[in-house]
């Protein structure tokens, strides 16, 4: 029993933070909103230089062959930077779905390209009516009942569904399932999708917690700097206590998320419950963080110019994609009832 990250894991986290501090500033994010793809050209190639896209890809396919515990802190960093690129779908869910299919041709064809940053993968879960970033994906992994299908985007009709978050790019995808596109079906397909959904939820939880960390830092900085009644507003207990509650919620949610990452790595039967805990607590911690942060910034928190809304929107929407906290609480209840 050792519930702690290694020095190497923390080092990798710092590397990714420095990378995103350079490559994903909020000015840069804003500059992409009006562009046709909304995405940064060359980003994935650079991201691949520090190994993130292929982190979970086995070494034989050109990846780093690392695990989800190594990955979870990096997803926090992605959230912290409000990175809009499909890191979860490509590197956490997509790469694992492909590897878990145990289809040598499929692995040989896609995993090296994922690891090198050449290919981005988009994932269409049945719980979500939209597929994020389908427009830049080289491969769509689509759920059709219990079946897993690998779809060439050229064989699908994509309809852009503009999002309230100008960084997000959502699409309806119309396509025709065929034997040729089917990668897995039956109990195997069902298990793959169940794991993929838990993975996606855990990835969203980690990103949300990264956003929440950023928000609490912004709120603390503002509360220390903003003076009213002759003192910094952060000296008022009304502010202190709310930030303390926020910090507590985030820390406990992190424990859930790290446990979820470990359960993913182990692939053990604690995963479904761990994923529920991670998803619910992260969404709730974020909901608190986002609301409090806007409130603590007062009027400027409600402006377009200030970055508050950018982080707020991202995390709020991550908490609604893949089923809301209510949906996951329902799943948790069912799992607890089944455990009787």
């Amino acid at each position: 029993m050792e519930f702690i990250f290694s020095e190497d894991q923390l080092l990798l986290q710092r590397t990714v933070r420095e990378f995103l501090d350079r490559e994903c500033t909020t000015e840069h994010l804003r500059s992409l909103w009006g562009t046709p793809t909304g995405r940064s050209p060359g980003f994935w190639a650079k991201f691949a230089e520090i190994g993130v896209p292929g982190l979970l890809v086995p070494e034989v396919h050109g990846g780093l062959g690392m695990d989800e515990v190594d990955f979870v802190l990096l997803l926090e960093e992605a959230g912290r930077a409000a990175l809009p690129e499909p890191v979860i779908d490509t590197a956490l869910v997509g790469a694992s779905l492909i590897a878990a299919s145990e289809d040598p041709d499929l692995c040989e064809r896609w995993l090296p390209r994922v690891a090198s940053g050449e290919a981005v993968v988009a994932v269409g879960h049945a719980v979500s009516p939209f597929v994020s970033d389908a427009h830049i994906a080289a491969l769509l992994l689509m759920q059709h009942g219990d079946e897993v299908h690998g779809v060439d985007p050229n064989d699908a009709r994509l309809t852009h569904q503009p999002s309230n978050d100008p960084s997000r790019r959502l699409f309806s995808v119309v396509w025709t399932p065929s034997d040729a596109s089917c990668l897995a079906r039956g109990p195997e397909g069902r298990a793959l999708w169940a794991a993929a959904l838990d993975r996606g939820a855990l990835g969203c939880a980690a990103e949300q917690l990264g956003v929440a960390d950023r928000l609490i830092e912004m709120a603390v900085a503002y509360a220390c700097q903003r003076k009213q009644f002759g003192v910094a507003i952060g000296s008022f207990q009304a502010i202190k206590h709310r930030l303390a509650d926020l910090y507590t919620a985030i820390e406990l949610a992190k424990s859930n998320a790290y446990y979820g990452a470990w359960a993913l790595e182990e692939g053990n039967d604690e995963l479904p419950t761990a994923a529920c805990g991670a998803r619910i607590s992260a969404t709730e911690a974020f909901d608190l963080a986002g609301t409090e942060m806007i409130q603590m910034h007062g009027g400027v928190g409600f402006t377009w110019e200030y970055d508050c809304h950018l982080f707020y929107r991202r995390s709020k929407l991550l908490g609604l994609a893949l089923g809301s906290a209510s949906t996951w609480r329902e799943k948790l209840v069912q799992r607890l009832e089944a455990a009787a």
Binding site: M1, E2, F3, I4, F5, S6, V69, I216, V220, A223, C224, V231, A232, G234, S235, Q237, I239, K240, H241, L243, A244, D245, Y247, T248, E251, L252, A253, S255, N256, Y258, Y259, W262, C276, G277, I280, S281, R329, L332, V333, L336, A340
Partner: protein
């Protein structure tokens, strides 16, 4: 990161479980806040100590078994799972003991720890005074050096276990010209000393869990001082850290309550015509939060074992467990509805349990060991860096 237990840890768990199964009283003991219950609990502590289970992380020479903190958590899990009695000497074994381990002289360790482990000496806390509650640095009770003795005068209050305990630990002002947290000294006081008057205070639940302690020219040898003179604040902060952080309320206590709550939900759902889905969600949330608290504690312990220290994050734990405890009991009361108020003697009380008593006790959680308001200030100022004023 590896959240599996080692074979040694599994073996330790098995050994603890077997001992507890063979020794835990089958009938619950009377409340430890009654004279009779206090003695019954002391007897139980004697038995635990004879088995070597009183304080597993302590060195063998002081009555422990040299276990690490992870094994201590495992022991706690088994202890609560077995439904074993509350720890009458928790102020001693969980709070003062670790402080003596850190600040005590070899003589003090040998003098106090074994009798603490066996509960031959049960300890009360003497932190608060009538004018020093959340503002503990406002302590007024004095200890004047007179030859080889301190002469103590003043009043302590809300002394947990004070009504029946043998000893009291607390801070006293040894420098009469000092202010705030300077000039305080940590001293151990026998409650049978001349000049000590203990007046039990009846709690909200009708029992005498705490007491006022009046000290009039009480002479205590200088050897009863823990740590350096005038350094009492640092010593007390270590004790408070143990109290809030880890020892006083291990996660097992709350996981056990959560399990019982899930059990109550199942029983209610099996017989009720309809059960409010909101209540079902609340039960699941309580269970999840108790698990999260356990996970968070395993993280803290892993950090400690890797050479880290427990700091202001202890305040986070304290807020979380005390408020979770209230939420769990509140949820149980809502599941029970009108039957919640029945005493065990009531003909219709079957299955009601002691949730209402538990709820009333849970009300004290956000107060004792430093109010949750103070804990929130600590998190805001020491972890987040918000300005004190």
């Amino acid at each position: 990161m590896d959240l599996r237990y080692t074979p040694e840890q599994e073996a330790f768990r098995k050994e603890a479980r077997a001992w507890l199964e063979a020794h835990v009283p089958t009938e619950p003991l009377p409340s430890l806040d009654t004279a009779e219950g206090f003695e019954a609990h002391r007897q139980w502590e004697h038995e635990l100590n004879a088995g070597g289970w009183a304080m597993v992380p302590w060195p063998v020479e002081y009555g422990g078994r040299g276990a690490d903190l992870l094994e201590w958590l495992i022991f706690e899990e088994e202890y609560y799972r077995a439904g074993a009695p509350g720890r009458v000497n928790q102020n001693g074994i969980f709070l003062l003991g670790p402080t003596i381990m850190e600040y005590g002289t070899p003589e003090q360790k040998a003098r106090y720890l074994p009798k603490m482990a066996s509960s031959e000496e049960v300890w009360a806390q003497g932190w608060s005074e009538p004018n020093a509650g959340s503002d503990m640095a406002a302590i007024q009770a004095t200890a004047a050096l007179d030859g080889d003795d301190y002469v103590i005068n003043g009043q302590k209050t809300w002394a947990s276990r004070g009504a029946y305990a043998d000893w009291l630990f607390g801070m006293f002002r040894t420098d009469p010209d000092s202010e705030r947290h300077h000039g305080l000294t940590f001293i151990l006081v026998p409650l049978d000393a001349k000049g000590v008057t203990v007046r039990p205070i009846e709690q909200l639940d009708g029992e005498a869990g705490f007491a006022e302690v009046f000290l009039d020219d009480v002479r205590v040898p200088v050897a009863n001082r823990l740590g350096e003179p005038e350094q009492g604040w640092s010593v007390a902060m270590a004790t408070a850290g143990f109290e809030r952080g880890l020892m006083l309320r291990s996660p097992a206590r709350f996981q056990n309550t959560a399990r019982k709550l899930v059990g109550l939900y199942r029983e209610t759902a099996a017989t009720a015509e309809r059960i409010d889905p909101c209540l079902r969600d609340e039960v699941a949330r309580c269970w999840m939060d108790a698990e999260a608290y356990a996970l968070n504690t395993y993280q803290t312990v892993s950090r400690l074992l890797a050479g880290g220290k427990i700091g202001a994050e202890a305040s986070l734990n304290k807020i979380f467990w005390s408020e979770l405890d209230m939420k769990m009991h509140e949820t149980a009361l809502r599941l029970l509805g009108a039957r919640a108020e029945l005493l065990p003697a009531a003909p219709a009380a079957s299955g009601v349990g002691s949730w209402l008593d538990g709820f009333l006790f849970a009300l004290s959680g956000p107060i004792y060991a430093g109010t949750n308001e103070v804990q929130r200030n600590i998190i805001a100022e020491r972890i987040l860096g918000l300005p004190r004023r």
